[in-house]
Symmetry: C2
Subunit: 112 residues, 2 copies
């Protein structure tokens, strides 16, 4: 997992924050599969994910239409349904428009 290389703003971010249930059987496999599948969708720009006490996954998209189409993807719907019935205790989804961004790289500190 790396910092996503997204294009110039504006673009969209879907911020998905979750807490896990006690049952994590099959979760990792499905999560990996969904990352692979998302990457194939029109308008997908990148994804970032980290998990300790809570999980945070941020996926980046060209526009609201590409987010809506991904939400309607059949395999994704099955995964989301299993997420609700099995893997997640709670989650919040936030659809946001990235207006500005900047990057710092220690190897090139003067660009910041």
């Amino acid at each position: 997992m790396k910092i996503a290389k997204t294009p110039t703003t504006p673009y969209y971010a879907v911020i998905f924050t979750s807490t896990s249930s006690d049952n994590q059987v099959g979760y990792e496999e499905m999560a990996d599969k969904m990352v692979e599948l998302a990457a194939l969708q029109d308008g997908f720009l990148g994804i970032e994910s980290a998990r300790d006490e809570i999980g945070i996954t941020v996926s980046y998209w060209k526009n609201l239409e590409s987010i809506q189409k991904w939400k309607m993807n059949m395999e994704h719907q099955v995964a989301r349904s299993k997420g609700k019935s099995m893997w997640y205790a709670a989650f919040k989804v936030r659809i946001s428009k990235v207006e500005r961004d900047y990057f710092f790289d220690k190897k090139r500190p003067n660009q910041f």
Copy 2:
């Protein structure tokens, strides 16, 4: 760390994604201090953070002015300077406007 209880949209999210350098001396203490200090600022709405291969911290704010004021906070500037010189190999900051959100709680699945 819990899922942040944010107000109704719109509001702003600052998505901070980072990779760590080899030197993490003093990082945890400063990170905790900055979360405490951020929570005292005008317009602060909540914060979520998780870290494994990469770190993701999302802080939520009432508007762009409150984000700008937090960026200019003196103690925060010292922390950011140390972050660049010591703790981070690279990071990306994305300022985004949350347009829609929804919440799922397994204890109350029908609200979704």
